[in-house]
């Protein structure tokens, strides 16, 4: 039987995906262009026994999300650039305290208040390095309404699997665009729930990792002694100044994502087998890249596209392989070259890197990418 077809916005698909993933708590604050996520959550969460709360500011909504997650609820918050900046201290807290949570950033023009109603991809670096210190993070970037639904579920699964904050990088175009989507059979979707402790309450060490480098997590109030802190801590969760403890913790946090990279990293490539030129882009820009590719292919020019679906960790291995084969990689992004920095690093001068950048609040067009391809040819 064909599943029901629906017309929905990226922001709506994000909420639908979150509910399927098991989101039962949302704390938010109004900010364009993400507000619909909060509004819809306020309507839908009470109907499934969840809790919506509007907090007094962005910082508070991130903190409440962490608090609710500690009690065992799958929790999410949503924001845009200025709010994302405000949340950073708490995102670092979630990273070091290993609290699973999902943060949606519907990117708009920045810095500061910037262009509140226009798209941007200016938060690519911030999504990785916004909070201070070395820390793990997973960032996914959907390019369609349907993919927003799917990746929101994945974001929750990643956060539960690795006990880490996961960021969904939408942009104003994907967030507000309406597309016809067919939702998958919900019963066939894999849903991951965090690992629970299997030891006696008195033997529980909340930050003692298993072989996969992820410690099992008890719910607050369940009866396990469970200390949570933003300070460096040992396996008991209590603070420590011991250099060995600090080194071990920070390296484990990093390694739990690094060593599992192959299970996390995802990308989409089209026509790369014989491509001489690859257009690399994420989110809404990838749609223009695919259009540019089609036009050039019709003219007999061998163009392919490469789209990181996880921006962090970046699909490094595959890009390195492609760098050895192609004449040029054109990085098209709505910022002044944030992702290009990563591509330059990975390609190690094995191919020519060209950039198409736009920061005027308008989407990059296929023509602008084609103009760059013609320069390269």
């Amino acid at each position: 039987m064909k599943n029901k077809e629906l017309l929905m916005q990226g922001n709506e698909a994000c909420v639908e995906g979150a509910l399927v993933a098991g989101m039962r708590f949302f704390a938010g604050y109004p900010i364009t262009p993400s507000t619909e996520i909060a509004e819809l959550s306020s309507e839908k969460l009470p109907l499934v026994g969840g809790k919506f709360i509007q907090m007094e500011d962005e910082i508070a909504s991130m903190a409440a999300t962490i608090g609710a997650s500690l009690t065992g609820l799958k929790s999410m918050t949503a924001t845009s650039g200025p709010g994302f900046s405000l949340k950073q201290e708490n995102i670092g807290y979630a990273a070091i305290a290993e609290v699973p949570c999902v943060i949606v950033d519907v990117q708009r023009g920045g810095p500061s208040t910037g262009l509140p109603t226009s798209p941007s991809q200016g938060d690519i670096m911030q999504s990785k390095w916004g909070t201070h210190g070395d820390h793990p993070i997973i960032v996914v970037a959907p390019a369609s309404v349907r993919e927003t639904f799917d990746l929101t579920i994945k974001a929750f699964n990643f956060s539960e699997t690795y006990r880490t904050p996961v960021i969904i990088l939408l942009d104003e175009v994907i967030g507000h665009m309406r597309e016809k989507i067919e939702l998958p059979d919900i019963s066939k979707i894999d849903i991951v729930n965090r690992k629970k402790p299997l030891v006696n309450k008195e033997d529980y060490l909340p930050f003692k990792a298993d072989e996969d480098l992820v410690p099992p997590m008890a719910d607050y109030g369940e009866g396990y002694r469970f200390h949570v802190t933003g300070l460096v801590h040992d396996e008991t969760g209590f603070p420590s100044n011991n250099p060995d403890v600090s080194d071990k913790l920070i390296r484990r946090l990093d390694a739990k994502i690094e060593k599992n990279k192959d299970k996390i990293v995802e990308w989409e490539e089209k026509n790369t087998n014989d491509a001489e030129i690859i257009i690399l882009s994420i989110g809404c820009v990838s749609r223009a890249s695919n259009a540019a590719m089609k036009i050039m292919r019709n003219k007999g020019i061998k163009v392919g596209t490469f789209r990181p679906i996880t921006v962090w960790p970046f699909p490094e291995k595959r890009l390195e392989e492609l760098s050895q084969k192609v004449k040029a990689i054109i990085v098209a992004e709505m910022n002044l070259g944030q992702m290009a920095l990563e591509v330059e690093r990975i390609s190690k001068c094995m191919t020519r890197i060209e950039k198409v950048n736009k920061v005027n609040g308008e989407i990059i067009t296929p023509d602008e990418i084609i103009a760059k391809i013609k320069e390269v040819l």
Partner: protein
């Protein structure tokens, strides 16, 4: 000089062409306040309705006719504190004024406003309270009154819901900071508003002067444009939003009605309360009566 002549004699500090909604009483409030404050003013308008409708200006010819800037939602009082400290240092008297919505004041900007109040920063802070985040399509704020429909406090198909909590009593919170001057205002009582702005200008020499204006929002709340002032007046006549001031710690009620109108008269003019049943209306009446009694006691001290 009567109030009309007085206001007529003053320069309109805001250019024509502000794109506020038809009948918006915040625009009226801003124009009135700015006429009184005059050109010797530095104005901060954070994100919110008045920032969105062009009061900060779209070019060099539009918007406020004085130095005006657009701080962030959570920092107007702190930015103004920095500006005022400079002017104090060079010995120049200037009105340093915030005109901020309730979200920027009672929620995100509360920390910095409270800090400015405690330090006694010599600024005038005017809050236009339209009970929510109107610039993003009306989400609740902590200034939203009990049972209000907002886009994040929805009403069910059975007609139940709305916000569960009553509005934060922010004028009272600011008064309890023991600031130099605190007053509540309504766009339906312009004479009272003018006098209070003048008083704030006088008292700012001693520390922070805070003005809280209650501005029923036509678009967000569902009020007929032609009833903008009538609904504002009803909010005062029902004691839903009493007009009072606190000068050096002394409370003074400015509008007192022998027989205040029932709060139902006010609520039934507004679409965001259209789902309310008699019990809920009665509950709001009780809240209003309790708050009024407390205010009376404070005024009798």
């Amino acid at each position: 000089m009567n109030i009309i002549d007085k206001l007529n004699s003053k320069e309109d500090m805001i250019s024509p062409g502000i794109s506020a909604c038809i009948g918006c009483n915040v625009e009226l409030t801003l124009r009135t306040c700015m006429k009184v404050l005059g050109p010797n003013t530095i104005l901060a308008i954070p994100p919110g309705c008045m920032g969105g409708v062009g009061v900060v200006g779209w070019d060099m010819m539009s918007g406020a006719n004085c130095p005006v800037f657009f701080p962030l939602l959570d920092n107007p009082a702190s930015m103004l504190a920095g500006i005022k400290l400079y002017y104090e240092r060079i010995g120049r008297k200037v009105n340093v004024v915030a005109f901020a919505g309730d979200g920027a004041t009672v929620d995100a900007g509360f920390q910095c406003l409270s800090g400015a109040a405690e330090r006694g920063d010599k600024i005038i802070y005017i809050c236009y309270d339209n009970e929510g985040y109107m610039n993003t399509g009306y989400q609740r704020s902590s200034a939203t009154s009990k049972y209000s429909w907002t886009s994040t406090t929805p009403v069910s198909t059975e007609g139940r819901g709305g916000k569960k909590e009553h509005k934060k009593d922010f004028p009272m919170i600011m008064a309890m900071h023991d600031i130099a001057y605190m007053a509540t205002c309504s766009p339906a009582f312009i004479q009272d508003m003018v006098r209070k702005i003048e008083k704030a200008m006088e008292k700012q020499e001693k520390g922070l002067a805070y003005i809280h204006v209650f501005n029923p929002c036509l678009t967000g709340w569902g009020i007929k444009a032609e009833e903008s002032i009538e609904v504002s007046r009803l909010s005062v006549e029902t004691n839903f939003f009493p007009l009072y001031e606190v000068i050096d710690g002394q409370f003074k009620i400015n509008k007192e009605y022998k027989n205040p109108k029932p709060v139902k008269d006010y609520l039934t003019k507004i679409k965001k309360y259209s789902h309310l049943n008699e019990e809920e209306i009665e509950e709001i009446q009780e809240i209003v009566d309790e708050k009024w009694d407390r205010l009376k006691k404070l005024a009798s001290l």
